[in-house]
């Protein structure tokens, strides 16, 4: 069988890049290692350009196991953009706190590759491989500060809990394979649609929900997230928050919307309940936090709840809303975390109270954090408002209570975001010397802020693109 490899050029390029960075790390003299960051980021930009240029070059590889459509292309754009921003935002941090640039960037590239595989995977085996490639890379990255107890503890928790969750996920997958007799998602969908509901299927679906719920940090499978987010190096936290979450959503959409549409009635309400609980718990527990990374972890849990709202109806509008919100979400999260990690570089603190007077020391950092947080809170005219609007519009008709929970909890979230804003803008800094923001970080901050504002004011074109991508998803 003739295979068209041209469609997977971006993936091949990613593998080459990962290996190349690793090799360069071995041959380059030690003092030029920091340049690997620039190298990696520009290569990633090149690969992003490849994906964008090949936007309409769609097809399948390996007899339908690997699927490139606009849906997966869009997610790849999300992952690559996040990776680029994270690399830009993490250069200063890596050089100062981590070392091991070659390994760091190379593993980062591989985890991005894992996400890309997840977006395109059309069968359980490929999905699992992508998922594990991403997860194992992340485990390494989480405990990259290998002399720091907190980082190691986070890594330990992540490796064991992720292991448990993948075991559960696999068990679910094996049951569904047993019922359907195939691992191709589309075929599974067709078989399950005519299948009687079996208890085994129930167990399988439950385990799938749990395994993927773990990855997106939905309550009650979220327990790992705050600890790991807090302990991990800050740039990795942001990548974990966007990349890992959105890649798992890509799989979640693929499996449930395509593979489980026949049994859609029973899991729609389940998703609604999970989304509601996740939104409530995430937002409530965020309020008393004193560590900014932990606060963002809980806020990230709440955000997962919002995104989960798009799953409830299993409709094109829902898929579209998830993609739109996901796109906005990267910029908001990366914006905040870039500021956090840069601030940590200078002061060595992640405590919210140490952010006092940031607005006087670095207006840019403070402004980016405010804009990103307001986006996440869904306050117009920032992009998050439009995103939330899309998400909640899909459920207003059948699950009005969920929309109301979402709206009320958005107001609660305003409260704790405002607390951080108050500290930054109102309190007097202990040390009021201005902060000089380095070039790559400044670029990242300005870029993320601009996107949050521009997409909020004029979301039209992006929304058109996503409409088409979401449509392509249902074409199979």
């Amino acid at each position: 069988m003739q295979m068209d490899f041209s469609v997977i050029i971006p993936e091949i390029a990613m593998v080459s890049l990962g290996v190349l960075v690793l090799i360069l790390g071995l041959i380059l003299p030690k003092k030029s290692l920091p340049r690997l960051g620039w190298f990696t980021s520009f290569s990633l930009i090149g690969i992003l350009a490849l994906v964008v240029l090949n936007w309409n070059n769609v097809g399948t590889v390996s007899g339908g196991l690997y699927l490139i459509d606009q849906f997966s292309q869009f997610f790849k754009v999300i992952f690559l953009t996040a990776a680029i921003l994270v690399v830009f935002g993490s250069m200063a941090y890596v050089d100062k706190h981590l070392g091991g640039q070659a390994e760091y960037y190379s593993i980062l590239v591989f985890s991005t590759l894992g996400m890309m595989v997840m977006a395109s995977a059309n069968d359980f085996i490929t999905m699992y491989l992508g998922l594990e490639l991403m997860t194992i890379s992340f485990i390494v990255l989480v405990c990259f500060r290998r002399n720091d107890s907190e980082s190691l503890e986070a890594g330990m928790k992540y490796v064991l809990l992720a292991g448990i969750s993948s075991a559960v996920l696999l068990y679910g997958l094996s049951l569904i394979y047993g019922i359907a007799g195939t691992v191709l998602v589309v075929e599974v969908g067709m078989i399950l649609a005519v299948q009687q509901s079996l208890p085994l299927l129930l167990v399988g679906v439950v385990m799938l929900v749990a395994g993927l719920g773990f990855k997106i940090a939905a309550v009650p499978f979220h327990m790992w997230a705050p600890d790991v987010y807090q302990g991990a190096p800050t740039p990795i936290t942001s990548f974990l928050a966007v990349g890992s979450k959105m890649a798992s959503f890509a799989i979640l959409i693929r499996i449930f919307v395509l593979g489980m549409f026949g049994v859609s009635l029973s899991w729609g309400i389940l998703m609604a309940i999970l989304a509601g609980v996740t939104i409530i718990i995430g937002n409530l527990v965020a309020i008393p936090q004193t560590n900014i990374k932990r606060l963002m972890a809980y806020s990230g849990i709440a955000q997962a709840g919002y995104i989960l709202v798009g799953m409830v109806t299993a409709s094109q509008a829902g898929v579209k809303a998830i993609m739109f919100y996901g796109f906005i979400y990267i910029f908001a999260v990366v914006g905040v975390f870039t500021a956090i990690s840069y601030y940590y570089n200078l002061t060595g603190s992640d405590e919210i109270k140490d952010y006092a007077g940031l607005s006087q020391r670095s207006p840019l950092m403070a402004a980016t954090m405010v804009v990103s947080m307001l986006t996440m809170a869904g306050i117009p005219p920032f992009a998050g408002f439009v995103g939330k609007f899309y998400l909640f519009m899909t459920v207003v008709e059948n699950y009005l209570w969920l929309a109301i929970i979402g709206l009320i909890m958005s107001m609660v979230s305003v409260y704790y975001y405002l607390m951080v804003v108050l500290v930054m803008y109102r309190d007097r800094p202990q040390d009021s010397s201005p902060i000089v923001v380095s070039l790559p970080v400044r670029m990242t901050l300005i870029f993320t802020m601009l996107v949050s504002v521009v997409l909020g004011v004029y979301p039209g074109p992006l929304s058109e693109i996503i409409n088409k991508a979401a449509l392509s998803f249902f074409m199979h």
Partner: protein, 106 residues
């Protein structure tokens, strides 16, 4: 008297029991390595499921077997990373008792 043949249910029950044992170990063992081993047990349960389904549901295709081989491979990688972390953490704290790892909380 015909020997009772082994059916799909037997394999599934074996898998479920093994999964349960692994689960029990994960929840109760205090030693990080023991927990890692328990996770392996759960993965073995998955493999038994996969192979049994392959034999009884899709005997003409090797989907389940291929899947199982991938699971074994990936699990090995995961254990490798896990052990590395355990060694690092032992160097750091001279202790791999899970109950003592609660610096990150609330």
């Amino acid at each position: 008297m015909p020997t009772p043949s082994i059916t799909l249910e037997h394999y599934l029950i074996l898998g479920a029991v093994l999964f349960g044992i692994g689960l029990f170990g994960v929840l109760t063992k205090k030693n990080a390595i023991a927990v890692l081993i328990s996770i392996e047990l759960m993965l073995c349960a998955v493999n038994i499921n996969l192979l049994a389904f392959n034999k009884y549901i899709t005997p003409e295709a090797f989907i389940g077997q291929i899947f199982a081989i991938f699971v074994i491979t990936v699990a090995a990688a995961e254990v490798g990373v896990g052990l590395a972390i355990i060694i690092a953490i032992y160097r750091n704290r001279l202790n791999i008792n899970l109950e003592d790892f609660d610096w990150l909380k609330w």
